[in-house]
Protein backbone atom coordinates (compact mmCIF):
# COMPACT_ATOMS: atom_id res chain seq x y z
CA UNK A 1 0.00 0.00 0.00
CA UNK A 2 1.26 3.47 -0.71
CA UNK A 3 1.45 4.49 2.92
CA UNK A 4 4.74 6.01 3.84
CA UNK A 5 6.02 7.18 7.13
CA UNK A 6 7.21 10.52 5.95
CA UNK A 7 8.96 11.67 9.06
CA UNK A 8 12.52 12.62 8.30
CA UNK A 9 15.28 11.39 10.58
CA UNK A 10 17.97 14.02 10.33
CA UNK A 11 20.56 11.57 11.57
CA UNK A 12 22.38 14.07 13.74
CA UNK A 13 23.50 11.44 16.16
CA UNK A 14 26.06 13.39 18.07
CA UNK A 15 24.23 16.64 18.61
CA UNK A 16 22.47 17.12 21.91
CA UNK A 17 18.75 17.20 21.57
CA UNK A 18 17.56 20.73 22.21
CA UNK A 19 14.24 21.29 23.93
CA UNK A 20 14.26 24.91 22.77
CA UNK A 21 14.39 23.71 19.15
CA UNK A 22 11.42 21.44 19.75
CA UNK A 23 9.47 24.47 20.91
CA UNK A 24 10.62 26.67 18.05
CA UNK A 25 7.25 27.01 16.45
CA UNK A 26 5.84 27.85 19.84
CA UNK A 27 3.40 25.02 19.99
CA UNK A 28 3.17 21.27 20.32
CA UNK A 29 0.49 19.46 18.41
CA UNK A 30 -1.85 17.67 20.76
CA UNK A 31 -5.19 15.97 20.65
CA UNK A 32 -6.92 18.24 18.13
CA UNK A 33 -10.14 16.24 18.12
CA UNK A 34 -10.40 15.91 21.93
CA UNK A 35 -14.10 15.95 22.57
CA UNK A 36 -14.27 18.71 25.15
CA UNK A 37 -12.21 20.98 22.89
CA UNK A 38 -13.67 20.05 19.55
CA UNK A 39 -17.39 20.19 20.11
CA UNK A 40 -18.74 23.59 21.00
CA UNK A 41 -22.09 25.18 20.98
CA UNK A 42 -23.75 28.43 20.35
CA UNK A 43 -26.74 27.79 22.53
CA UNK A 44 -28.31 31.18 21.90
CA UNK A 45 -28.66 30.30 18.24
CA UNK A 46 -29.41 26.67 18.97
CA UNK A 47 -26.36 25.48 17.06
CA UNK A 48 -23.58 23.03 17.72
CA UNK A 49 -20.26 23.66 16.09
CA UNK A 50 -16.70 22.39 16.03
CA UNK A 51 -13.66 24.35 17.15
CA UNK A 52 -13.36 26.01 13.74
CA UNK A 53 -16.96 27.13 13.82
CA UNK A 54 -18.24 24.58 11.29
CA UNK A 55 -21.75 23.40 11.98
CA UNK A 56 -22.30 20.07 13.70
CA UNK A 57 -25.57 18.24 13.85
CA UNK A 58 -26.74 15.58 16.28
CA UNK A 59 -28.93 13.00 14.57
CA UNK A 60 -31.45 11.13 16.70
CA UNK A 61 -31.45 7.35 16.34
CA UNK A 62 -35.12 7.20 15.28
CA UNK A 63 -34.28 9.47 12.35
CA UNK A 64 -31.55 7.06 11.24
CA UNK A 65 -33.99 4.17 11.56
CA UNK A 66 -36.54 6.15 9.59
CA UNK A 67 -34.03 6.74 6.80
CA UNK A 68 -33.38 2.99 6.50
CA UNK A 69 -37.07 2.16 6.62
CA UNK A 70 -38.10 4.95 4.28
CA UNK A 71 -35.45 4.07 1.72
CA UNK A 72 -36.34 0.40 1.86
CA UNK A 73 -40.01 1.19 1.35
CA UNK A 74 -39.52 3.63 -1.51
CA UNK A 75 -36.58 2.16 -3.36
CA UNK A 76 -36.40 -1.48 -2.22
CA UNK A 77 -33.16 -3.11 -3.23
CA UNK A 78 -31.75 0.16 -4.48
CA UNK A 79 -31.64 1.53 -0.94
CA UNK A 80 -28.16 0.08 -0.44
CA UNK A 81 -26.90 1.81 -3.53
CA UNK A 82 -28.45 5.07 -2.38
CA UNK A 83 -26.74 4.81 1.00
CA UNK A 84 -23.45 3.87 -0.61
CA UNK A 85 -23.60 6.89 -2.89
CA UNK A 86 -24.55 9.15 0.01
CA UNK A 87 -21.53 7.75 1.83
CA UNK A 88 -19.26 8.53 -1.09
CA UNK A 89 -20.57 12.08 -1.26
CA UNK A 90 -20.09 12.49 2.45
CA UNK A 91 -16.65 10.87 2.37
CA UNK A 92 -15.42 13.20 -0.33
CA UNK A 93 -16.31 16.24 1.74
CA UNK A 94 -15.17 14.65 4.96
CA UNK A 95 -11.75 13.93 3.46
CA UNK A 96 -11.31 17.52 2.28
CA UNK A 97 -12.37 18.99 5.61
CA UNK A 98 -10.32 16.51 7.65
CA UNK A 99 -7.18 17.28 5.65
CA UNK A 100 -7.77 21.00 5.86
CA UNK A 101 -8.28 20.94 9.61
CA UNK A 102 -5.19 18.82 10.24
CA UNK A 103 -3.01 20.85 7.89
CA UNK A 104 -4.11 24.06 9.65
CA UNK A 105 -3.55 22.57 13.07
CA UNK A 106 -0.12 21.09 12.36
CA UNK A 107 0.78 24.11 10.24
CA UNK A 108 2.14 21.92 7.49
CA UNK A 109 0.72 20.08 4.50
CA UNK A 110 -0.83 16.76 5.26
CA UNK A 111 1.81 14.93 3.23
CA UNK A 112 4.40 15.95 5.85
CA UNK A 113 2.44 14.34 8.62
CA UNK A 114 3.62 10.97 9.91
CA UNK A 115 1.16 8.14 9.26
CA UNK A 116 1.00 7.66 13.02
CA UNK A 117 -0.36 11.14 13.65
CA UNK A 118 -2.70 10.85 10.72
CA UNK A 119 -4.18 7.56 11.84
CA UNK A 120 -4.49 8.69 15.45
CA UNK A 121 -6.26 11.86 14.37
CA UNK A 122 -8.67 9.86 12.22
CA UNK A 123 -9.49 7.57 15.15
CA UNK A 124 -10.07 10.44 17.53
CA UNK A 125 -12.07 12.40 14.95
CA UNK A 126 -14.35 9.41 14.34
CA UNK A 127 -14.88 8.90 18.05
CA UNK A 128 -15.54 12.55 18.85
CA UNK A 129 -18.21 12.76 16.15
CA UNK A 130 -19.97 9.79 17.73
CA UNK A 131 -19.42 7.45 14.76
CA UNK A 132 -17.92 4.67 16.86
CA UNK A 133 -14.32 3.52 17.11
CA UNK A 134 -12.37 3.14 13.88
CA UNK A 135 -9.21 1.07 13.66
CA UNK A 136 -6.92 0.52 10.73
CA UNK A 137 -5.84 -3.08 10.35
CA UNK A 138 -2.53 -3.41 8.53
CA UNK A 139 -2.33 -7.21 8.77
CA UNK A 140 -2.77 -7.68 5.02
CA UNK A 141 -0.95 -4.57 3.91
CA UNK A 142 1.79 -6.48 2.11
CA UNK A 143 -0.83 -8.41 0.16
CA UNK A 144 -2.37 -5.12 -0.98
CA UNK A 145 -5.37 -4.96 1.33
CA UNK A 146 -6.15 -2.43 4.00
CA UNK A 147 -8.55 -3.47 6.74
CA UNK A 148 -10.75 -1.00 8.58
CA UNK A 149 -12.70 -2.11 11.65
CA UNK A 150 -15.47 0.06 13.04
CA UNK A 151 -16.74 -0.78 16.51
CA UNK A 152 -20.03 0.44 18.01
CA UNK A 153 -21.18 1.96 14.73
CA UNK A 154 -24.38 3.97 15.26
CA UNK A 155 -25.17 3.62 11.55
CA UNK A 156 -25.38 -0.16 11.40
CA UNK A 157 -26.88 -0.29 14.87
CA UNK A 158 -29.89 1.57 13.50
CA UNK A 159 -30.08 -0.65 10.40
CA UNK A 160 -32.65 -3.44 10.27
CA UNK A 161 -31.29 -6.93 11.02
CA UNK A 162 -30.03 -8.57 7.86
CA UNK A 163 -28.24 -11.66 6.56
CA UNK A 164 -25.82 -9.50 4.60
CA UNK A 165 -23.74 -6.54 5.78
CA UNK A 166 -25.56 -3.22 5.85
CA UNK A 167 -22.78 -0.69 6.41
CA UNK A 168 -23.22 0.79 2.95
CA UNK A 169 -22.95 4.36 4.17
CA UNK A 170 -19.62 3.65 5.86
CA UNK A 171 -18.46 1.59 2.88
CA UNK A 172 -18.95 4.64 0.69
CA UNK A 173 -17.16 7.00 3.10
CA UNK A 174 -14.16 4.70 3.51
CA UNK A 175 -13.87 3.94 -0.18
CA UNK A 176 -13.63 7.57 -1.21
CA UNK A 177 -11.61 8.62 1.83
CA UNK A 178 -8.85 6.08 1.27
CA UNK A 179 -8.95 6.45 -2.51
CA UNK A 180 -8.21 10.14 -2.10
CA UNK A 181 -5.64 9.50 0.60
CA UNK A 182 -3.69 6.99 -1.47
CA UNK A 183 -4.32 8.51 -4.87
CA UNK A 184 -5.53 5.12 -6.16
CA UNK A 185 -9.01 4.11 -7.18
CA UNK A 186 -9.78 1.71 -4.34
CA UNK A 187 -12.83 -0.42 -3.83
CA UNK A 188 -14.30 -1.12 -0.41
CA UNK A 189 -16.23 -4.20 0.67
CA UNK A 190 -17.71 -5.17 4.00
CA UNK A 191 -17.04 -8.60 5.49
CA UNK A 192 -18.74 -8.45 8.87
CA UNK A 193 -21.52 -6.32 10.30
CA UNK A 194 -23.23 -5.53 13.57
CA UNK A 195 -26.63 -5.88 11.91
CA UNK A 196 -25.99 -9.55 11.13
CA UNK A 197 -24.78 -10.30 14.62
CA UNK A 198 -21.00 -9.83 14.24
CA UNK A 199 -18.92 -8.06 16.89
CA UNK A 200 -18.04 -5.08 14.69
CA UNK A 201 -18.10 -3.81 11.11
CA UNK A 202 -15.08 -4.93 9.12
CA UNK A 203 -14.20 -3.44 5.76
CA UNK A 204 -11.54 -4.37 3.25
CA UNK A 205 -10.06 -1.89 0.82
CA UNK A 206 -8.13 -2.90 -2.26
CA UNK A 207 -8.11 -2.75 -6.02
CA UNK A 208 -11.45 -3.65 -7.54
CA UNK A 209 -10.26 -6.65 -9.52
CA UNK A 210 -8.83 -8.21 -6.37
CA UNK A 211 -12.08 -7.82 -4.45
CA UNK A 212 -14.29 -9.31 -7.17
CA UNK A 213 -14.80 -12.62 -5.43
CA UNK A 214 -15.49 -11.03 -2.11
CA UNK A 215 -19.22 -10.51 -2.50
CA UNK A 216 -19.87 -14.20 -3.10
CA UNK A 217 -17.69 -15.12 -0.10
CA UNK A 218 -19.60 -12.69 2.11
CA UNK A 219 -22.93 -13.94 0.74
CA UNK A 220 -21.95 -17.50 1.66
CA UNK A 221 -21.70 -16.35 5.28
CA UNK A 222 -17.98 -16.94 5.81
CA UNK A 223 -16.25 -15.12 8.69
CA UNK A 224 -13.83 -12.27 8.03
CA UNK A 225 -10.64 -14.27 8.65
CA UNK A 226 -11.46 -17.05 6.19
CA UNK A 227 -12.61 -14.53 3.59
CA UNK A 228 -9.24 -12.84 3.91
CA UNK A 229 -7.39 -16.16 3.61
CA UNK A 230 -9.24 -16.95 0.39
CA UNK A 231 -8.54 -13.48 -1.01
CA UNK A 232 -4.85 -13.80 -0.28
CA UNK A 233 -4.55 -17.30 -1.71
CA UNK A 234 -6.13 -16.28 -4.97
CA UNK A 235 -3.19 -13.84 -5.32
Amino acid sequence: MPFDVLRVDLGENYAMVSVADLLMDGRLPGNYFAQDLYVRGSTELGLLENRRGDRLLAIPEPLLQAIYTGLEKETGQASRLVLYNCGRWWGKNFYARFCEELADYYQQPLANLAMAEFSQALQQCWKTHGWGQIKLDMTYRDQGFLGVDIWHSPFTKAAPASQTPSGDLERGILEIFFSQLTGRELCCAQTSCLSKGDDCNRFVLGLEKRLQRLSSLVASGQPHSSIMQTLIQQG
Binding site: D9, M16, L28, N31, A116, M138
Partner: protein
Protein backbone atom coordinates in the same frame (compact mmCIF):
# COMPACT_ATOMS: atom_id res chain seq x y z
CA UNK B 1 -14.49 19.43 32.67
CA UNK B 2 -14.96 19.32 36.39
CA UNK B 3 -13.19 22.51 37.37
CA UNK B 4 -14.01 22.75 41.06
CA UNK B 5 -16.03 25.99 40.97
CA UNK B 6 -17.83 24.59 37.91
CA UNK B 7 -18.95 21.47 39.67
CA UNK B 8 -20.00 23.52 42.69
CA UNK B 9 -22.10 25.75 40.51
CA UNK B 10 -23.71 22.74 38.90
CA UNK B 11 -24.60 21.29 42.27
CA UNK B 12 -25.93 24.62 43.46
CA UNK B 13 -28.42 25.05 40.66
CA UNK B 14 -31.33 24.26 42.92
CA UNK B 15 -30.11 25.01 46.40
CA UNK B 16 -27.49 26.87 48.38
CA UNK B 17 -24.07 25.30 48.73
CA UNK B 18 -23.78 23.20 51.86
CA UNK B 19 -21.06 24.02 54.41
CA UNK B 20 -18.71 21.35 53.06
CA UNK B 21 -18.98 22.70 49.54
CA UNK B 22 -18.38 26.23 50.76
CA UNK B 23 -15.30 25.04 52.63
CA UNK B 24 -14.01 23.31 49.49
CA UNK B 25 -14.52 26.50 47.54
CA UNK B 26 -12.70 28.69 50.02
CA UNK B 27 -9.85 26.16 50.25
CA UNK B 28 -9.53 26.23 46.49
CA UNK B 29 -9.55 30.02 46.41
CA UNK B 30 -6.92 30.31 49.10
CA UNK B 31 -4.72 27.84 47.17
CA UNK B 32 -4.84 29.92 44.00
CA UNK B 33 -1.75 32.09 44.68
CA UNK B 34 0.37 28.96 45.12
CA UNK B 35 -1.16 27.34 42.05
CA UNK B 36 -0.39 30.42 39.98
CA UNK B 37 3.16 30.52 41.29
CA UNK B 38 3.72 26.88 40.30
CA UNK B 39 2.06 27.44 36.95
CA UNK B 40 4.21 30.48 36.26
CA UNK B 41 7.37 28.53 37.05
CA UNK B 42 6.33 25.67 34.76
CA UNK B 43 5.51 28.12 32.01
CA UNK B 44 8.51 30.41 32.27
CA UNK B 45 11.01 27.64 33.02
CA UNK B 46 9.69 25.10 30.53
CA UNK B 47 12.97 24.77 28.68
CA UNK B 48 15.16 25.08 31.79
CA UNK B 49 13.20 22.28 33.45
CA UNK B 50 13.09 19.96 30.47
CA UNK B 51 16.57 20.37 28.99
CA UNK B 52 18.37 18.60 31.88
CA UNK B 53 15.80 15.80 31.57
CA UNK B 54 16.58 15.60 27.85
CA UNK B 55 20.33 15.50 28.51
CA UNK B 56 20.01 12.80 31.16
CA UNK B 57 17.68 10.77 28.99
CA UNK B 58 20.07 10.99 26.08
CA UNK B 59 22.87 9.65 28.22
CA UNK B 60 20.73 6.77 29.48
CA UNK B 61 19.58 5.50 26.14
CA UNK B 62 20.67 4.37 22.70
CA UNK B 63 17.46 5.64 21.15
CA UNK B 64 17.69 7.72 17.99
CA UNK B 65 17.36 11.48 18.18
CA UNK B 66 14.03 11.28 16.38
CA UNK B 67 12.59 8.99 19.05
CA UNK B 68 14.13 11.08 21.82
CA UNK B 69 12.53 14.19 20.38
CA UNK B 70 9.22 12.41 20.06
CA UNK B 71 9.40 11.33 23.68
CA UNK B 72 10.32 14.85 24.78
CA UNK B 73 7.33 16.19 22.89
CA UNK B 74 5.16 13.78 24.89
CA UNK B 75 6.76 15.03 28.10
CA UNK B 76 6.30 18.69 27.21
CA UNK B 77 2.73 18.14 26.11
CA UNK B 78 1.85 16.21 29.24
CA UNK B 79 3.40 18.89 31.45
CA UNK B 80 1.29 21.59 29.80
CA UNK B 81 -1.83 19.61 30.55
CA UNK B 82 -0.67 18.82 34.06
CA UNK B 83 -0.04 22.52 34.65
CA UNK B 84 -3.52 23.48 33.49
CA UNK B 85 -5.13 20.70 35.54
CA UNK B 86 -3.23 21.91 38.61
CA UNK B 87 -4.23 25.54 38.03
CA UNK B 88 -7.90 24.66 37.75
CA UNK B 89 -7.76 21.87 40.35
CA UNK B 90 -9.37 19.68 37.70
CA UNK B 91 -8.58 16.06 38.45
CA UNK B 92 -10.06 14.76 35.23
CA UNK B 93 -8.54 17.14 32.73
CA UNK B 94 -5.42 15.13 31.98
CA UNK B 95 -7.30 11.91 31.56
CA UNK B 96 -10.07 13.42 29.45
CA UNK B 97 -7.78 15.27 27.12
CA UNK B 98 -5.08 12.66 26.76
CA UNK B 99 -6.87 9.32 27.08
CA UNK B 100 -7.78 8.92 23.45
CA UNK B 101 -4.52 10.33 22.22
CA UNK B 102 -1.41 9.76 24.33
CA UNK B 103 -1.53 5.93 24.49
CA UNK B 104 -2.03 5.73 20.71
CA UNK B 105 0.76 8.17 19.98
CA UNK B 106 3.09 6.35 22.38
CA UNK B 107 2.20 3.06 20.69
CA UNK B 108 2.71 4.16 17.13
CA UNK B 109 6.03 5.80 17.90
CA UNK B 110 7.00 2.91 20.16
CA UNK B 111 8.38 5.21 22.84
CA UNK B 112 6.85 3.60 25.90
CA UNK B 113 10.11 2.63 27.62
CA UNK B 114 11.68 5.93 26.72
CA UNK B 115 8.64 7.82 28.03
CA UNK B 116 8.69 5.94 31.29
CA UNK B 117 12.36 6.79 31.78
CA UNK B 118 11.62 10.38 30.87
CA UNK B 119 8.90 10.66 33.49
CA UNK B 120 11.15 9.19 36.17
CA UNK B 121 13.76 11.80 35.35
CA UNK B 122 11.10 14.47 35.19
CA UNK B 123 9.82 13.48 38.65
CA UNK B 124 13.34 13.94 40.01
CA UNK B 125 13.72 17.23 38.22
CA UNK B 126 10.42 18.58 39.54
CA UNK B 127 11.54 17.54 43.03
CA UNK B 128 14.49 19.89 42.64
CA UNK B 129 12.39 22.77 41.36
CA UNK B 130 9.38 22.65 43.69
CA UNK B 131 8.83 22.20 47.40
CA UNK B 132 6.78 19.22 48.68
CA UNK B 133 3.49 21.11 48.98
CA UNK B 134 3.83 22.45 45.45
CA UNK B 135 4.73 18.97 44.22
CA UNK B 136 1.62 17.55 45.80
CA UNK B 137 -0.46 19.86 43.61
CA UNK B 138 1.11 18.34 40.49
CA UNK B 139 1.25 14.71 41.57
CA UNK B 140 -2.34 13.54 40.87
CA UNK B 141 -2.30 14.67 37.24
CA UNK B 142 1.25 13.49 36.66
CA UNK B 143 0.28 10.08 37.99
CA UNK B 144 -2.67 9.97 35.58
CA UNK B 145 -0.43 10.74 32.63
CA UNK B 146 2.05 8.07 33.68
CA UNK B 147 -0.77 5.56 34.01
CA UNK B 148 -1.87 6.39 30.46
CA UNK B 149 1.63 5.72 29.18
CA UNK B 150 1.83 2.47 31.12
CA UNK B 151 -1.52 1.49 29.61
CA UNK B 152 -0.19 1.95 26.09
CA UNK B 153 1.55 -1.42 26.15
CA UNK B 154 -1.43 -3.30 24.74
CA UNK B 155 -1.06 -5.12 21.45
CA UNK B 156 -0.90 -2.51 18.77
CA UNK B 157 -2.84 -2.63 15.55
CA UNK B 158 -0.57 0.01 14.11
CA UNK B 159 2.05 -2.14 12.49
CA UNK B 160 3.44 0.62 10.35
Amino acid sequence: MTFKPDSLMNSSAQSYLDPNELTALSQYISSIPERIAVYRTLRDQEIAIMQPVADALQQHTQASDARLEQSLCHGLMVMRHVAMAMLLDDNHLVEERLKGWLPDIVNVHDTQNLDQQLFQLLDQQLGRVFNPSQLSLLKPSLAQAQALIAASSGPSLHAF
